[in-house]
């Protein structure tokens, strides 16, 4: 607010002679930028707090007013927190036992199913596609209990099977996304190949998939992030220490804050690990901002 008050009189004086509309327009522009900067700062505040808190000593955590620039910064909090709490293992589990298998499974299966819904005309297709979309309305909680019981009966609790297996049967959200993309590919391309004697599988493999690379990248990226970010799935199926994912590891690390007697550097360690887990997403976003944004737009249009 103070920015607006101090600069607007001078800005008004310069253009005062031209017209009153100009001053109004400038004030409006100014108000817009003030709003944008205030909003942007508010949006970043949690991340600034997270990153700076990761660099604090224990006593700086409890200082009033809060310390925003800890001097000297405790860089060793990052490796110390990571190693003290076994995050190498959690990271291995998250990436190699959960994220990569489900990414491969979801991308492959959704790519094939979407082709059946987008590029082949058969009776009942649109009804089934509607059913496929409607399943997104079924709350996770409805299928959670019976699936847990089933996986338990097969002795698969504390394995990654309950989290990985369903990924190989397509995901409605991604099927929808890829179908929308496939439909933008000209029919003439597949017709020409069809006349040359190619079958549907060859058309999918040789023509559609190479053209759909941007959309497939979006699916793979989103699914990798889903697995990286997932909490409820691992919470239900994995409770053994050596099976934990990063999300469960962070929750475990938080318990040190409430522990009687206090654990050394509980808050800085928690914030350090949170920062390290957010960093890959920030980097991926930095390099693939367009991919992210176009991917999401793909699902919104003609929802």
């Amino acid at each position: 607010m103070s920015v607006q008050a101090s600069t607007s009189p001078s800005a008004g004086a310069e253009v005062g002679k031209t017209s009153a509309i100009n001053i109004g327009a400038i004030l409006l522009q100014l108000a817009k930028y003030v709003l944008l900067f205030v909003l942007a700062f508010t949006f970043m505040l949690p991340f600034i707090w997270m990153a700076t808190s990761a660099l604090k000593t224990d006593s700086q955590v409890y200082t009033i007013p809060p310390v925003w620039i800890p001097i000297p910064p405790q860089w060793q909090n990052f490796p110390d927190a990571w190693r003290t709490y076994n995050f190498n293992l959690y990271m291995f589990n998250t990436v190699f036992r959960y994220a990569i298998p489900t990414t491969i499974g979801v991308t492959l299966s959704s790519a094939v199913v979407a082709y059946g819904f987008a590029r082949i005309s058969w009776k009942g297709r649109d009804v089934l596609f509607f059913v496929c979309l409607a399943t997104m309305m079924v709350p996770f909680q409805v299928t959670m209990v019976p699936l847990f019981i089933t996986f338990k009966n097969f002795g698969l609790i504390n394995t990654y099977w309950p989290l990985v297996l369903p990924a190989f049967f397509g995901s409605p959200y991604f099927i929808f996304m890829l179908r929308q993309f496939y439909r933008t590919i000209p029919v003439e391309l597949s017709d020409a190949a069809y006349i040359d004697g190619a079958n549907e599988f060859e058309i999918l493999w040789k023509i559609i998939l190479p053209l759909a690379k941007p959309a497939l990248t979006v699916v793979a990226l989103f699914q990798f992030m889903n697995a990286w970010n997932d909490y409820l799935g691992p919470l239900i199926y994995l409770n053994q220490e050596d099976m934990k994912t990063i999300a469960l590891g962070i929750e475990g690390l938080r318990r040190t804050i409430a522990q009687v007697g206090g654990v050394r550097l509980a808050y800085p360690y928690l914030m350090a690990v949170s920062t390290l887990v957010t960093l890959p997403i920030l980097i991926a976003f930095f390099f693939a901002q367009r991919t992210f944004i176009e991917g999401i737009s793909l699902t919104g249009i003609k929802g």
Binding site: T63, P66, S109, G116, E251, I281, G300, G303
Partner: protein
Amino acid sequence: MAVMASTTNRPRMSAAARRRQLIGLLFVSPWLIGFMLWTIYPLISSLYYSFTRYDLLRPPVFIGLKNYIEIFTSDPNFGQVTYNTLYYVGLSAPLGVASAFLMATLLNTEMRGRSIFRAIFFFPAIVPAVVVAMVWQFLVNIQYGAINATLQSLGLPVIPFIANPAFAKPTIILIHMWAQGNAMVIFLATLQDVPRSLYEAATVDGANAWHKFWNVTIPMCTPVILFNLVMGLIYGFQNFTLPWLLTAGGPNQATEFYAIFLYRNAFAYLRMGKASALAWILFVVVVFFTILLFRTSARWVYYSSGDE
């Protein structure tokens, strides 16, 4: 309709059409099998379990409607949980949409540094929910969180964001409004697709900026507003991770939402039967509200292509 047509026409299908039919089904078969395994089978067995008493240790015992009767008549928490959930969904869905729409509208104006602001507004949506919960819990801590420590040092009263039952739900809604990147991006794409000719025509008719916003921008965005409202509604009813990690249902049950209550019944009290009954009630409620929203949409959603 299509199903009916397919059964009557089948005998007259040509060999090529029959082949296409088979290949089409073959392509969607992964989803079709998955649909049976991960949706239909759990839905039906969940319905069966909801009529039983089942603690995982002993086999399920059929008890008729007792779970449902208990939930609606004698459960001491169900009323509070339902109130919390309706409060949350009723406010978070429209406020989330409003927040996304405001951000998109701001970004759609002529400005410098749009991609930077867009990145900043979008980013919270893709941060792991666990991290969101940890960071906000620390940020709004009543003593040494950034906000309250600052207020204290200025001699101002602290804000008990998650320490006071009256503030807890609004705090969670606020965090929800902060993480609306996906909806914002969808709005932004829609805003950029509004034909310029519409605005030009409005200018010729003497409309000012506000009239254009109200009579052109908003109507053109109503299909996306509906889409985002439906998404907000469906996910609002299932909201689990943030309140579970941030407040664990407290303080004094203020954030004990439906999904948390269901999770407790299933995995803390091992009452699989009652949890299944709760799940089915949730399912029916979500379907009911979604259909209701679509029904009202005929009155306020504008489709430019004219397909009603």
